[in-house]
């Protein structure tokens, strides 16, 4: 398992590995928002927490198709499935690697991009907290989507379609925390819900993903 994590991280850092691309995408979407909705700063401040969450979610989503597809194409998944490592563990490790290479950088970059969108001052703290709690759920749910669509050539977009509705609860509670935080309201309830979702998903989702992957390998 440590070997798998190390390998996935190494691969992400190599040429074409996609480390930092999620980040770049996040950055660019954030930059394009003022270009498309116009530059009024009070408007931007109102939509900033929500759009930052949306941008992070999209960035996360887009890097998902690397999660399994590459290993599928070159036969690594077949070989992993015949190895002593249980698939559930392999998938959890892969989700973890995805979070480290995508979710974590997004969390760290979010405050900087918040400045670009005139995020009100108290919002920064809550934005980071909510992303830190929420992005692991995004990675884990995403690995389920990736496992479902791994047999489909260039399933990337199909995967988006399947995964996005599954992201809805996480997005709602996450954005709610950030939004309430930005205007100084109480954030405890959505924060607890967010944490609950993340924990539940981490505990249960790998089994569903492994089941889907086994079917696909068949």
């Amino acid at each position: 398992m440590k070997a798998l994590l190390a390998r996935d991280l190494a691969l992400a850092l190599r040429a074409g590995g996609g480390f930092g691309l999620g980040l770049a995408f996040f950055l660019i979407v954030t930059v394009l928002v003022p270009l498309s909705v116009g530059p009024q700063s009070e408007l931007l401040a109102r939509i900033a927490p929500g759009l930052l969450w949306l941008g992070a979610l999209l960035a996360c989503l887009l890097s998902l198709d690397r999660l399994l597809a590459l290993d599928w194409e070159d036969g690594t998944l077949d070989l992993l499935a015949t190895s002593p490592l249980p698939l559930e563990a392999a998938l959890s490790v892969k989700a973890l690697a995805h979070w480290i290479t995508t979710g974590l950088p997004l969390v760290l970059a979010a405050p900087v991009l918040g400045v670009l969108l005139n995020l009100p001052a108290p919002g920064f703290f809550w934005l980071v907290i909510s992303l830190l709690l929420g992005t692991p759920a995004l990675s884990v749910i995403g690995s389920f989507g990736a496992a479902l669509t791994v047999g489909v050539k260039r399933g990337g977009l199909l995967m988006s379609l399947l995964v996005l509705p599954l992201y809805v609860p996480t997005l709602i509670f996450g954005a709610e925390v950030a939004r309430r935080g930005a205007v100084g309201m109480e954030t405890q309830t959505p924060l607890l819900m967010l944490a609950g979702i993340t924990l539940g998903v981490i505990a249960i989702m790998p089994f569903a993903s492994a089941a889907a992957l086994r079917v696909n390998l068949r």
């Binding site: 440590k2 691969l11 040429a15 070159d74 036969g75 690594t76 015949t82 390998l217 068949r218």
Partner: protein, 206 residues
């Protein structure tokens, strides 16, 4: 360690391709699968390796004993030869890759990224992976594709060494590997007829 297959029926795409396959494979033995293109060798190997369920029949002694090498090699083109082998060694709970490097003369290529190897060099690396798994039964699907004559001999040596250590091998191939004492199983006669649908997912609809 021994593999016993009884009255196996395997399917691909919901259609049975081979039925009534039975054989035993004991330590030190090698069995060559032969048969024309599309006769179902790959399907049989995948079933034995546990990647797909058989339609009917028993497979005994396969669980956690099999190192499978498919048409594709499972190599990462962005990792070096060394890193690729080390990864698979660790997955199978082992450390030493030098023997494998040695056996397939990859010494000079250790630092090269797998993506820059030629077709035959890649294949050699894929075969070296078998040595680091430590699994007793090798299942190989056309292992010598794009290997030159020297490399085929290298491969035969590796198989013989594996057998001498009490391993076994099941190899699907169209060419002669130079393994003299090998038994041969021609899958041609076991081709499933359209009636052999017991358990196939299409059966319910016929």
């Amino acid at each position: 360690m021994s593999l016993a297959v009884t009255d196996l029926c395997v399917a691909r795409g919901g259609v049975p391709v081979l039925t009534g396959i039975s054989f035993d494979l004991a330590a030190g033995q090698v069995l060559i699968l032969r048969g024309p293109n599309g006769s179902g060798k790959t399907t049989l190997l995948r079933t034995l390796a546990g990647l797909q369920p058989p339609l009917s029949g028993q497979i005994e002694g396969a669980e956690d004993q099999i190192a499978y090498a498919a048409h594709s090699d499972g190599l990462k083109s962005m990792l070096s030869v060394d890193e690729n082998l080390t990864f698979w060694a660790q997955v199978f709970g082992r450390k030493d890759i030098d023997a494998a490097i040695e056996a397939f003369r990859l010494g000079e290529l250790r630092r090269r990224l797998a993506g820059t190897l030629s077709a035959g060099q890649k294949r050699r690396l894929g075969l070296a992976r078998l040595l680091v798994t430590g699994r007793p039964i090798w299942m190989l699907d056309e292992p010598t594709v794009s290997l030159d004559v020297d490399a085929v001999a290298m491969f035969a040596r590796a198989v013989r060494a594996h057998l001498a250590q009490g391993g076994a091998a099941l190899i699907a191939t169209h060419i002669d590997l130079g393994l003299d004492d090998a038994q041969v199983l021609d899958v041609g006669p076991f081709r499933a007829s359209p009636e052999d649908l017991a358990g196939a997912s299409d059966e319910a609809f016929l």
